[in-house]
C-alpha cells in the first residue's frame, strides 16, 4: 500500500547550459512546482557518469532525473548524444539487474523551457509517488 505521506526524493543531474538554466528560469518566473527535487549541476549531460546515477539509486533516491540540451543544441556539440546512448545502456542494465529502470529519466529541457522543467518535476514527483519508496532505502546490504 502506498503511504500517502510518502514524499519522493528526486536527484536531478542537470546540464549547466540548458536544463539548469531552465530550472533557474522556472524560479525567476515564480513557477510553482513540487519541492521534491535536489539539483546537482554539471557542465553537460554527457558528463553524467553512470556511477552517479547508480550511487543515488542504491542510496534510495526515489527518482533520478538527467537533464540536458535538446539533440543538436549541446553546448559542447555532441555531449548529449553520448549521454543518450549511455542512458539507454544504463537503463537496460538496471532492468536486467532487477532494478526499476523507470526511476531514471532522461529529459531534454532547454534554457528557455522553465515551464517544461516545472512540469517535468511535477510529472516525476507524481510518478515516483505512485511507485512508492525505492526499496533500496531500507536495503542496507548493498
Amino acid at each position: 500500500m502506498t503511504d500517502t505521506n510518502f514524499e519522493p526524493k528526486i536527484i536531478a543531474f542537470l546540464c549547466n547550459w540548458c536544463t539548469y538554466t531552465g530550472a533557474d528560469l522556472a524560479g525567476t518566473s515564480r513557477l510553482q512546482y513540487p519541492p521534491n527535487v535536489r539539483i546537482i549541476r554539471l557542465m553537460c549531460s554527457g558528463a553524467v557518469d553512470p556511477i552517479y546515477v547508480l550511487k543515488a539509486d542504491l542510496a534510495g533516491a526515489d527518482g533520478i532525473l538527467i537533464g540536458g540540451c535538446h539533440p543538436g543544441d549541446c553546448h559542447y556539440q555532441e555531449g548529449n548524444y553520448k549521454a543518450r546512448r549511455r542512458v539507454v545502456a544504463m537503463k537496460e542494465i538496471l532492468k536486467n539487474a532487477g532494478f526499476d529502470e523507470d526511476r531514471v529519466w532522461l529529459r531534454w529541457i532547454s534554457a528557455s523551457e522553465g515551464a517544461r522543467f516545472a512540469d517535468t518535476i511535477r510529472e516525476m514527483t507524481a510518478a515516483m509517488k505512485e511507485k512508492g519508496p525505492n526499496p533500496m532505502k531500507t536495503m542496507w546490504a548493498v
Binding site: 547508480l54 546512448r85 537496460e92 539487474a97
Partner: protein, 374 residues
C-alpha cells in the same frame, strides 16, 4: 589457403610445435606468445624467441590460466615493439579485438594464430587431472579427446569443463592470419590449417585438399552450446529479475576485486573503486548507517558490480575468467553474459566481431532513439 600438417605417431602436439617453430626459424615473427609447460608441470602463457624452446609449448593443454588478450596487449600496445605471433583461443582473440578498440593493444605487429577450442578445465581442476600427473603426451591426449567429444557428443560435454566453456557458442575465431583447425578432423592424423596466402608462401606451404567435416561439426557444437547457454541464461535471469536481483546474486561478494583484475576488458590502469574517490571519511560511514539504519561494509559492493557492468558489459566476450577467480563462487561470468546479450541486442553489437566496428558508447547517430528524452 587451406593445408594440412601431417601428424606422426599420433603426436599432435609435436606436429603443432614443429609448425610454430618454423614461424620463428624463418623470421616470420620475432617471438611467439603461447602456453608453455613449466618444469613443475603447470601451463602458463609465455613469450619465446628461441625456436628450440618450443619443445615446451603446449597450446593444446585444456586450461586457460588467464585471458591472453591482456598479455598480447602488453606486447603490442606501445612502440617500440617486435613482430609477435600470438597463439590464442577464440575468446582471447575476441577480447583482443575489443582491447584494440580501447587503445590497449595493437594488431599492427601481431600475427594472430587462432586455435579451435573444445573447452578448458579450471586451473586447479587441470592440476588435479591424471593427464598432468602422467606425462606431457598423456596431457595432449586429454586435449585431443576433448576435440573428439566436441565432434561426437556435443550435447554431453565433460562435466568438469569450466561453466563458461559449456555455454560458449563461439569456439572458433574467423579473422586470424593463421587458424589451427582441430574440430572436424582426427588430430591424431593431421591438423587442418587455414593460413593467409602470403604467410603460407613464406612457410613454403601449398594448398591441399582438406577434409570437409569441420563446418558441420562446428555448427552442431554451436547449436548444443547455444541450447546450454539459453538454459543457463533463463536460470540466472529468474534470479536477477526475481526477489534477489543483483543484491541477492552478489550477496556473498567479499570485494577481493579478482573479477575486475582478471577480466581482459576491464583495462583501467586504476579502477575507480581503488581510487581516492572511495577512500571515505569515517563519518561518511556513520552518516550512511544512520540513513538506512545499518550499512554493509566494505561499502558500495553492489555499486562495484553495477558500475563494472556499465563500463564493460557491452564488450564481454564470455571467457569466464571472472567466475574462475571468484573465491565466493559467484556466477559472475554468467550474470555479465546474460546482461551483455540484452545490451548487445539493443546496440546491434557483437564484441570481437570486427576491429572496425566502433564501441557502442564511443559513437552515436544524430537520429537514433529519438523518443528518448522527449
Amino acid at each position: 589457403m587451406k593445408t594440412l600438417i601431417p601428424v606422426e605417431n599420433g603426436n599432435t602436439l609435436k606436429a603443432l610445435q614443429g609448425f610454430l617453430k618454423r614461424l620463428l626459424e624463418l623470421g616470420v615473427v620475432d617471438a611467439l606468445m603461447l602456453p608453455l609447460r613449466t618444469p613443475f608441470g603447470t601451463v602458463t602463457p609465455g613469450v619465446v624467441t628461441d625456436p628450440d624452446w618450443l619443445g615446451e609449448a603446449d597450446p593444446l593443454a585444456p586450461v586457460l590460466p588467464s585471458n591472453g588478450a591482456t598479455l598480447a596487449g602488453k606486447l603490442s600496445a606501445r612502440e617500440p615493439r617486435a613482430k609477435v605471433g600470438v597463439v590464442l583461443r577464440a575468446c582471447e582473440l575476441r577480447a583482443l579485438v575489443e582491447l584494440t578498440k580501447m587503445q590497449q593493444a595493437s594488431l599492427a605487429d601481431l600475427v594472430l594464430i587462432a586455435v579451435d577450442c573444445a573447452g578448458t578445465y579450471s586451473v586447479p581442476g587441470y592440476q588435479r587431472s591424471a593427464s598432468v600427473q602422467n606425462t606431457v603426451v598423456s596431457g595432449q591426449l586429454s586435449a585431443v579427446s576433448l576435440y573428439a567429444d566436441a565432434a561426437s557428443k556435443p550435447d554431453a560435454p565433460d562435466p568438469n569443463l569450466r561453466a563458461a566453456c559449456k555455454i560458449c557458442e563461439q569456439p572458433v575465431f574467423d579473422g586470424a592470419q593463421i587458424a589451427i583447425e582441430l574440430l572436424g578432423v582426427d588430430p591424431a592424423q593431421e591438423i587442418r590449417v587455414t593460413i593467409a596466402d602470403e604467410l603460407g608462401a613464406k612457410l613454403d606451404l601449398s594448398e591441399t585438399a582438406v577434409p570437409s567435416g569441420r563446418a558441420t561439426v562446428v555448427e552442431k557444437l554451436v547449436a548444443a552450446r547455444t541450447a546450454a547457454r539459453d538454459a543457463e541464461f533463463a536460470a540466472i535471469r529468474a534470479r536477477l529479475e526475481g526477489p534477489e536481483g543483483v543484491p541477492g546474486v552478489f550477496a556473498a561478494c567479499i570485494r577481493c576485486h579478482n573479477c575486475m583484475e582478471v577480466c581482459p576488458i576491464c583495462y583501467c590502469k586504476q579502477c575507480v573503486f581503488k581510487s581516492a574517490i572511495f577512500d571515505h571519511e569515517p563519518m561518511q560511514f556513520i552518516g550512511w548507517a544512520k540513513q538506512k539504519g545499518a550499512y554493509r561494509l566494505p561499502s558500495d559492493t553492489m555499486l562495484f558490480h553495477l558500475t563494472r557492468m556499465n563500463h564493460m558489459a557491452l564488450s564481454c566476450v564470455g571467457c569466464g575468467m571472472c567466475t574462475e577467480a571468484c573465491p565466493a563462487e559467484l556466477p559472475v561470468g554468467l550474470v555479465f553474459r546474460a546482461v551483455n546479450q540484452r545490451l548487445d541486442a539493443t546496440f546491434e553489437y557483437v564484441p570481437g566481431r570486427s576491429v572496425d566496428e566502433p564501441l557502442p558508447l564511443v559513437t552515436f547517430k544524430a537520429d537514433e532513439w529519438s523518443d528518448v528524452g522527449e
